[in-house]
Chain length 604, copies 2
């Protein structure tokens, strides 16, 4: 029956792919200020890399109304002091026999890295503060049998296990509970990164959970396929992490979100393997525990592999972009696009501030290029009458057969016209998407200059989308003003996903904390104020980032008491010893923790 | 925020819509043999209604190799003896104050009807045998507050509750556990059938769980919308039932299956209401108990309402049909359709036997119509060379904008040609879909003539689809031959859903039990042999019918022990007193029941 399946050869990780320990992304890529005051992204991975950016810092100074002297840095103390490991000797002894020497480490830097994701608070803590608790041991199983043995040994020796994928979460999902008295062992899945089989007839693939997005993309593409799942973290996040987080990819219009892509999931739990002998297209199989893994955030077991849908590589991939006079015009365009057409694989709408940011990430314009750029600008603002301080940009990515792409593009052109849009070309579209990966490095860069920044997102029905984005921006401004922070905060948003019923809105915000006593605590207050405003405005707790610990206090506002107690009782029933004790979503054994999660400071 | 929502006026049920108590469907519709030996469907609801069908019985005789004398009927003893109600007086007393007089009944016929769905065994039992246990009381709440009060009273007085929607399940899901010692109360949701609001801006509607498909369709259509969910039972099944069963509709290619349509679900559980204050397009909200209701089959609580996606009525609705020389050609066509195009809203492929059945459900051909029919037949078989005993038919239903439908239709025409298909027109397509609703009445009709028939379905990857359909047919033939049954069994299948990864295959089978001692037991053996063959051939336990009790013994073959224990532990945790004790999926409090579900006779 499986005769058409084949196992692709495994491609070892290239040696130049080392990731930063103290910041986002690759070790060779970071923004720096050059002696001439221009900014540059080091390395050569991205389009932005090696390009002098003269406009970025002046623009930040203008928008945030701060001086931002580049000589005045906030020096990083990374690695901050790292707690001593809490050893469980019987477990260590057993693990020593299970895994090879290079499969177990107590290295402090490695333990530190496995004790956090990429929330601002965590990154600030490892540079300027301290994580009170990090894993005491990191293990690297390279077979699923080893994972099973690790879980069994942990149960025997009363050890707390934490599955680790790409470490890219932005929800404090990997932050260790301070009061965890057991030895905490991080189970790093990076060696479980193989494509076990590809089924080209039924368009499925079986892939290990530790497979990283960028490599998965490349390996599948070598055989003519794509998974179609591209979260912004796709360079570093893993299949297992996507499932546990209930992730969404930017091309979901064509390929679906993670729950649409996963056909089966294999999990090592406290009570044995959650598994199935077969995989079927769609089933009505009663209560299906596999589906409970979506959004489980490490609390239920270790996902070891999954069967996912795959798609033939598209015949056509084409970018495009449209400028609109205002955010409202752009949202109107997106709304009609979901009503009257099939939206392209990806469509995004950035607000005016983010549009401006994109412009500042351009190199010095010289010669013909500068000329064109000026002509363009003249045309847009003078001839079309777009206000530079109101106009917004929509970027689009088409994928599919030629006829599909043509139909979609024709609808886009027709509806763009209806909403006063001006087609702005493929190059601007392509650049918009590429910028996403470069912009991810900015947060760590500006942190050096006393600016704390972060992103957060929500989903909301269409009718509330514009009001929500305005309310959140105003709330952040009000909260910053009330605290007398220097200058003005930076708050911008983009619509990153469209549905028939609404949108995902993704915010960036940043503020200068020069002179503030406890900036991390201040940040937490602002983050929580923003989420409060989102919920008040009809938004959800999260569209795709998840809950983790950063948003667990809001759960009682989005689920009834019964719903929360179901989750807690379920956790208690299937993991009675809390073997997977990372405690996201306030899921501890004491279900009264849920009540305590309603208020007070962050309770992890 | 909800200003755009409106509540449509409630349309009371027409008085002529009474349903049969002892068979499928409307009371005024049943097949009968006329004095001249022709067959006719009574009433005037369906295209088939009132039309003399001369070919049906002769064809059945030929295919099943039986004599089928119409004078030799197997007289129904409906209503078979009905168990006395087991009263819980304190509960009755409390309910008497909660509900009006017409909201509570002990009527034996009503209790009987609420104690079964539409499996063959159940229908046979109410006509020729006995249901050992049926609900002791039926209550009809008309508000959600009444549902809450009923659940609370049941918990106080140790009563077992069974939610009841349309009673159309084919999984023994409503069959009462024989050993249930508590009073069993059926909670009939037919009075909770309102559309609470329609949100035309965000394309959502909030609908009570007891709303029946056909009325929901009509009410939404009055406001320009459709839910797009059309299971074959749409005339009688309910929104709550679709969720609890994890249902699929024939137009899922355009609108999605039930899990794609439901945004929120409100449930009264043993521990309180499962609910949310807001609804969002898509979320990553951690463990989300709402999603656990899919496939819960009455074991977790009473679904009272749900928020669903709605769609504007399509600009175009168009039928079509294609004939293929063989089932293999037809499957090849469907496969390419999922690879190279967007399949129309619905596409179905019937095998040769079912194609023939469709032909026998035609009236006597007279005049021009007969001429055309003969000309057509000549062309297909003589000119095109199709073998009447091998050819098959594919029916299609397009819905959408004109340009979408045109693109889809062009792809269908192109691919049909590639697979030796012959376009057979809109009328044949339309007729194929209409027949579905009429054919549903045949099972009860032939039961009078010693034929037991049933349908069952599965989902399977593309590569196994043809082998699975052949294996199942051969297995049924072998099993019947081994038992020396008269004549030959009738086994036919159709592909009713296509996915990129595979298909849903829907079987009908029937056999003559004249002279058999215990036909119901024999049927159960054959049904189980078929499912065994399906699982051996790589098929799933069910695509959309569900598990209930009829397939619970197969659960250990499709889920690991851990997965089953998770489901059982979860049930124990959230409903510790088994208030919702209908016991589907072997979900009782004793988790060792799971082990016992692996073998032996049906254990309910």
């Amino acid at each position: 029956m499986d005769g058409h399946r084949f196992t692709p050869p495994h491609q070892p990780l290239a040696t130049d792919e080392a990731e930063s320990l103290d910041g986002w992304g690759f070790r060779d890529s970071a923004f720096e200020v050059l002696p001439n005051g221009n900014v540059m992204l080091t390395g050569d991975r991205y389009e932005l890399s090696g390009v002098e950016l003269p406009y970025l810092l002046p623009w930040v100074r203008k928008v945030m109304e701060i001086e931002l002297p580049v000589a005045d840095t906030h020096p990083s103390h990374y690695p901050s002091s790292i707690p001593e490991p809490r050893r469980n000797l019987p477990f260590l002894h057993e693990i020593g026999r299970l895994l090879p020497e290079d499969g177990v480490t107590e290295d402090p830097m490695v333990r530190l890295r496995h004790g956090h994701g990429h929330t601002l608070e965590e990154m600030y803590a490892i540079r300027h503060g301290r994580l009170e608790r990090v894993p005491d041991l990191v293990v690297y199983p390279s077979t699923e049998e080893q994972v099973t043995a690790i879980v069994e040994a942990a149960a025997r020796h009363d050890v707390c296990l934490v599955p680790y994928g790409g470490g890219t979460n932005v929800t404090d999902a990997l932050r260790c509970p301070v009061d965890e008295e057991r030895s905490i062992v991080s189970v790093d899945l990076s060696r479980l990164d193989r494509i076990l089989w590809i089924d080209p007839v039924n368009l499925m693939a079986c892939i290990q959970a530790g497979a990283v997005g960028r490599r998965l993309q490349a390996e599948l593409a070598r055989h003519g396929f794509t998974l179609g799942h591209e979260p912004d973290s796709v360079e570093f996040s893993t299949l297992g992490g996507w499932i546990a987080t209930h992730a969404s990819g930017m091309k979901k219009n064509r390929y679906g979100n993670i729950e649409d892509l996963v056909l089966d999931v294999h999990v090592i739990t406290a009570s044995g393997p959650l598994s199935r002998p077969h995989v079927a297209p769609r089933e009505s199989a009663g209560l299906d525990p596999r589906r409970w893994l979506f959004g489980s955030e490490g609390t239920l077991g270790i996902i070891t592999h999954a069967v996912v849908k795959i798609f033939p590589l598209p015949e056509i991939q084409k970018y495009d972009s449209v400028l609109f006079p205002s955010f409202e015009d752009g949202v109107g365009f997106l709304y009609d696009l979901t009503r009257e057409g099939q939206p392209p694989a990806s469509v995004r709408l950035v607000d005016n501030l983010q549009f401006q940011l994109g412009q500042t990430l351009k190199p010095t314009s010289r010669g013909a290029k500068a000329l064109m750029s000026k002509t363009q600008k003249f045309f847009v603002t003078k001839v079309k009458g777009f206000d530079p301080d109101r106009m917004v940009a929509c970027t689009l990515l088409y994928e599919g057969r030629r006829d599909e792409v043509e139909t979609e593009a024709a609808t886009v052109a027709r509806l763009a016209k209806r909403h006063k849009g001006m087609m702005a070309g493929a190059e601007n579209g392509r650049r918009g998407y590429q910028l996403t990966f470069g912009i991810a490095y900015i947060r760590d860069f500006v942190m050096k200059y006393w600016i704390l920044g972060e992103s957060f997102e929500t989903s909301v029905p269409w009718s509330e989308a514009i009001a929500l984005s305005e309310n959140v921006k105003q709330r952040v401004h009000r909260e910053c003003a009330a605290r007398g922070l220097p200058g003005k905060p930076f708050v911008t948003c983009r619509v990153t996903q469209v549905y028939q019923t609404g949108v995902c809105i993704y915010f960036y915000f940043g503020f200068c904390h020069k002179g503030v006593a406890d900036p991390a605590a201040l940040y937490a207050e602002l983050e929580h104020a923003s989420r409060d405003e989102i919920l008040k405005s009809g938004g959800s707790i999260s569209h795709h980032h998840g809950v983790g610990k950063i948003r667990q206090r809001f759960l009682p506002r989005v689920f009834s008491k019964t719903a929360l107690s179901w989750a807690a009782e379920f956790k208690r029933a299937v993991d009675p010893d809390n073997l997977f004790g990372i405690s996201n979503q306030a899921m501890r054994l004491e279900s009264d923790r849920i009540a305590s999660a309603t208020g007070g400071p962050r309770d992890d």
